[in-house]
Structures are given as structure tokens and as C-alpha cells.
Symmetry: C2
Subunit: 378 residues, 2 copies
């Protein structure tokens, strides 16, 4: 992607794996769009990034993994600015020219002195953007880096993401960072970015828990002209779906992706509520995990959705191509078990009342999720 350089390193935040990513634009006026967690308890990284974005002169990104720097009071905010000031001093930017994203355990302070010592001298380490290394540097309990890329009319689009637990983005996302050299109209980029995220990452739930640190951003250097907005938006959507599915598949302890499609709801909002109720149901998730043909739980999860309309007479439920409700002749439990043994399980609910649709992504719930999260901080 023309117009960006990256630097990754281990700053000693926790362990020896990379925990620091800095991306800087090499053009003076990159375009930036971003969305953040809707948590009532956002971390200082989110608070500062919102402010810097509003100031309109963002030139770079700092992302720190393995520690969210949340719940540390004024000291945590001071730690963050110490890091940003030090990075900025290296590459000639002010702290308020960065967006910053930080992810990991909550309520523990950065090892600031060690981090500052390792930031010293990084100016010489920047080089052509390496997004594989960037994706690796933002991992927490991710088992592999998540990168997608595509060409559009001669421009390049790259997206990286992280996130495996504490994932039910709400009008924002986990970490999803997009870089492109396509020259885009600012308003178009903002709306395409938001629209695509609402239909992809905001339709993803691993465990119903919304992070204090979710951050999604897109930066464009604008160095490649002549890119069709329609093709760009379509490419962004396709790649965002791919990245969303990668994140779902790597959910903590996950062995299967669950995709739930609802159509025929009164409106899209209702469809999404029903779909989320199903994909988030621990009983649906455990049945998928165990390949237990307990399809009635989809009825239960549909029925527990608050604030939507359903019509029992019109409702139907399918797993893959197999209709389980209504099923006058009974459900073929062997066929259903076979479908549930695949590593991707599709559930479709037809409400039969209107034209509202939604697709959401999630994953199964395993004993491994419990194991990982019963000892995460220690």
C-alpha cells in the first residue's frame, strides 16, 4: 500500500512476542475514518483517539497489545501520553497526531520505563509497510495473524484484525485496521467504512462481551487515482466479510464458525436482534459444539428475542438445506448431526412477516473457552 510505513517490536509489555505496532503515513494529508467501542467505560486510548480524530490531523497509528491500559485512572492516561510523546519524538509527530489502540488485560499498568527505553531509536526501524508483521503485533490470544488484501482499479486495500474474546462489538468493532492508497472522497470513505462495518464486524459476536477498547479505522494515502467508488465499497465489503469470518473462526476455544441468517423480519433491525439472540445463545453454541441435533434451541433463542415480532404460523428454521421446523415428517437427526459436524454451520430463520434481513457470525462454545478465560490474567 503506497504511502504507509510500519514498525513492529516487542516493548516488553508482557512476554517476548511483538506487542507494538506503529503505522505512519508518508503523505502529509492522509484521510482517516474510525469507529470506537460504545462501552460506557472506554479506555484512555479510545478517549484520546476520539479527540485526536476530531482535531482532523491524524498521521499515524500506535497499537499496543497484551495490556488494554484501562481502569488505571490518571496514571494510565499519563502512561499513554508518555508512550505517544516518545514515539512522536522519534518520527516527528505530536501525540495528538496519532490514533492509539490498546488491547489486553484490564486494570494493569504499562511497564512504561521499559517501553520508553525500547522506543528510543525506533526511527531507524521504519520501513515499507509489512502488514503480516503488523497483524502479528496486535495479537493477544489470537492463534494466527489475520490479514486480507485486494486490488481495486490499481489501488491496494489491506485489512488486519485481532480479537478472540470479549467480542460483541456494538456500533464499533474489535481491532480492525484498514489501509489503502486509493484516492477517495472523504465523505464516501467515511460512509463506506461505517456501512461495511455495520454489516460485518458489528454482526460478529464471540461471547456477548463488549470490549472497553474496540477500535476500527481506515487510512488512505490517496496516492492512487481513478478508483471506482462502487468497486471500492464492494471490495471492502467482501474483504471485511473474510476478515470477520477469520475472527469468528479464531474465537477463543472455537472449533466452528456459526453463521445465522434471518429474513422476512419486520425490518433489518428486528432481523439482527433475532440473529444475535441465536448466535449468542450458549445452548445453541454448545449444541453446535457437540454436534447435538438439538434444533429446538433455535426456536427457544428466537422466542426469547425482546422487542421483535414473530408469527408462529409463518416461522421456519433450516440448518444448511435441511428444514427442521416445521417438519411434518419429522427431522432427519442423522442428516442434522452430519451438518453440525462441519467446521462451518449455517442456520437460517425465515420469519415470514416482512423484508428485513440480517446475517451474523459467531462460533461454538467449548470447554477450551472456559479454560482460557479461567486463567487469562495469571
Amino acid at each position: 500500500v503506497a504511502g504507509f510505513e510500519t514498525y513492529t517490536a516487542n516493548l516488553g509489555v508482557r512476554g517476548e512476542s511483538p506487542d507494538f505496532l506503529c503505522v505512519r503515513a508518508t503523505v502529509p494529508n492522509p484521510l482517516t475514518a474510525a469507529m470506537f467501542t460504545q462501552s460506557l467505560f472506554p479506555g484512555p486510548s479510545v478517549v484520546a483517539s476520539r479527540r485526536h480524530l476530531a482535531q482532523g490531523d491524524v498521521r499515524g497509528l500506535v497499537a499496543i497489545s497484551k495490556n488494554a491500559n484501562v481502569g488505571n485512572g490518571p496514571e494510565g492516561e499519563a502512561d499513554m501520553f508518555a508512550v505517544l510523546d516518545a514515539v512522536g519524538a522519534e518520527i516527528g509527530l505530536r501525540a495528538d497526531q496519532f490514533l492509539i489502540a490498546s488491547t489486553g488485560v484490564i486494570g494493569r499498568r504499562y511497564p512504561v520505563q521499559q517501553m520508553l527505553a525500547r522506543i528510543d531509536g525506533i526511527r531507524g526501524g521504519f520501513g515499507p509497510a509489512d502488514f503480516d508483521a503488523a497483524a502479528r503485533a496486535i495479537m493477544t490470544t489470537d492463534t494466527h495473524p489475520k490479514v486480507v488484501s485486494a486490488f481495486v482499479d490499481g489501488a491496494t486495500l489491506v485489512g488486519i484484525a485481532k480479537g478472540v474474546g470479549m467480542i460483541e462489538p456494538n456500533m464499533a468493532t474489535l481491532f480492525s485496521f484498514w489501509f489503502t492508497d486509493a484516492l477517495l472522497e472523504p465523505q464516501f470513505m467515511e460512509s463506506a467504512f461505517r456501512s461495511v462495518h455495520d454489516r460485518t464486524f458489528n454482526c460478529l459476536s464471540i461471547d456477548t462481551d463488549t470490549s472497553t477498547s474496540d477500535t476500527a479505522l481506515m487510512m488512505s494515502s490517496g496516492l492512487k487515482r481513478g478508483v471506482s467508488p462502487d468497486r471500492f465499497a464492494e471490495t471492502l465489503y467482501q474483504e471485511a466479510v473474510r476478515l470477520t469470518e477469520m475472527v469468528a473462526a479464531d474465537g477463543e476455544g472455537a472449533t466452528k464458525v456459526i453463521r445465522v441468517t434471518v429474513d422476512g423480519a419486520v425490518d433489518d433491525w428486528s432481523a439482527k436482534l433475532i440473529a444475535k439472540s441465536i448466535v449468542n445463545s450458549p445452548l445453541v453454541k454448545t449444541a453446535v459444539h457437540g454436534a447435538d441435533p438439538n434444533w429446538g434451541r433455535v426456536l427457544m433463542a428466537t422466542g426469547k428475542t425482546r422487542g421483535v415480532e414473530i408469527d408462529l404460523a409463518n416461522l421456519s428454521v433450516m440448518f444448511g438445506n435441511l428444514t427442521v421446523y416445521p417438519a411434518e415428517a419429522g427431522v432427519d437427526l442423522f442428516a442434522l448431526t452430519d451438518l453440525l459436524r462441519r467446521n462451518s454451520v449455517d442456520i437460517a430463520v425465515r420469519v415470514g412477516l416482512g423484508s428485513g434481513t440480517a446475517t451474523v457470525w459467531g462460533c461454538d462454545l467449548s470447554a477450551e473457552y472456559v479454560r482460557i478465560n479461567g486463567m487469562y490474567s495469571t
Copy 2:
């Protein structure tokens, strides 16, 4: 409890353990109050019970465990009436004089012929109410029967409950059946019953899943006069808390009860939303399970609560008597780990904005929950 008889048996619904309970009032005009699931997909038992309650002549209860008889279409409804007709014929009641509650797997029909054969002749089996046997007959994956009882001014109050999974009652409850011989004013009984359930069973969540079959009821034979309404209501509340805690402790795979108290919220409704967000967070539940002192997850779960106000400057969080936020001197992680190792974990959040309070109950999330529910139907 004067004025009631019970009968329990195995009707062959599934396996050999008791799966059938019938309670009949021996007085002609018992008082009955009841609440049912708010699921959009209630089972025929709930639909019929609502209708029978409205008709105002309820004389008995039929409860069937191990099969919810939900999602079976008109055939399921016909099966239910066949059972009620047969039981009614034995003891001289019409089908519409029963409340019926059925719990277990969804989408599987009753083995009706076998059940009818075993109902034949039960009239001779009724005897003085045996609520231990009754509590045993309504168990599904419960590991033990759940019964409480108390005396109030010479009257007796007995409550039984079941429920271990698919439990987040919403304006209703799992199965909670109460019987008393206290003579009560109808309006007082109705309001006391609802008020107490709203503060106990409706504040319980094991896994966020709302059953299609939740049923709570109270029947009074009215044979004991002179009972103080205030003392009755207070006794009912105390016993309902006990029964709620018993259900939480026996949550599928649970090893610990989690009790979350929120105070200082703008109103009680906000306090309950925050408390539910915490007690339902899989990351809080797994941390408690593993005794991992990852207290930051309580901040996360507080922050993700939609539609409430919090004020970061006034917020505080405690585990037992240990304040973890704000904690200028740092959190004593060893003391916190000790608290988390107990079989009952108290979390308190003070919002500092108003006088809204709530207490909710839940349990930890274990690998055993995943195991039970990955093979429940098979």
C-alpha cells in the same frame, strides 16, 4: 400444607426416574396466582395454562419433566389435552381446571400411549402432599430436589423449584411452585407473589437463555385463618431467596454462586440491567470459575450495559469486602484470589448517581456446562 394432595410417578417420558407430578386441591375454591415465560415461542402448556388461569377455576397442577412438548405443532397440543383429559377423568376434574407445566427437550413428542396407559388408575395413588417427592418429579438435569418450607402464624408455606439450564426468566420464572394453606386476600396474594418473584427468580440467570416453558404459580387452600399479610409476604420473600440461591448453586456445571449487588444507580431498573450484564458476562463467569483475579472484567461488563448512566468518577467495585476499583494502592490479588475460591462470590458495584438498587444471582461457567449441553438431546 392443609388442602392439597400429590401424586408422582414415572410415566415413561424418558428414562426411569419420576417425570410426572399432579397436585390437586381438596378444597373447592383454591386461590391461584401464576406467571409464565415471556418467550415469543411459548409451549402449548403455557398457552393452555394462561387460558385456564383466566377462566378462574383452577383446581390442580400437572407437571411433566424430561420433555417440554414445544415445537410439535397441533399434534403436541393434542397430546397435551389427551394427558389432561386422562388425568382429569381419574380425579373428577375437567382439562381446563388444570395448570400444566412441561420441561425438557424441545421438538420431541410425548410418548402419549405409554403415558396414558400409566395414568390409568392413578386415582388411588393420591395421598397427603409429599413435596419432597414433588420436587423430585420435576427435575431434569437438576442434581437434587429443591424444596423450602416455613410456618407463618400457624399456616404453612412450601415452595419447590427446578431449573439448571436455559435460565434467564423474564417477567416469569423457571418452575417455581408454591403451596400454602394460609387464608389470603386474592389481590394481596397476586401482588405478593409477583413482587417477590420479580425480586428473586426474575433476578436469576444461569445462561441468559429464556425457556419456552417457564412457569411460576402459587395455590392457597385458605384453610388457615389469621395469617398476617406482612409476615406472609416477608416469609415468602425469604424462602424465595433461598430457593433462588439453590437453583443458582445447581446451575448446569456450576461450582459457585455469584451474587451481584448494584446500588446508587439512577433507578432500580438501571441497577438491574448493570447487575445482569455482570452476572451474565461469560468472561466474569469464567474468571470466577478459575478463581482468576481478573477484576477488570467487572468494569468491562458494567461498561457494556446499554441504556444506563454511569459516572466514572463515582464508580466503585468490590469483591466481598475488598475494593478493587478505585484502588490507589493497587489490588491485593492474593486476597482477591482467596475470595474467588469460595463457593459463593459477592460482587458489589456502587454507581454513585442515585438510589436505584438490585441484587441478582447467577453461577460460574465451567467446562462441565459445555459438556452437559453439547450432548443434551442424545
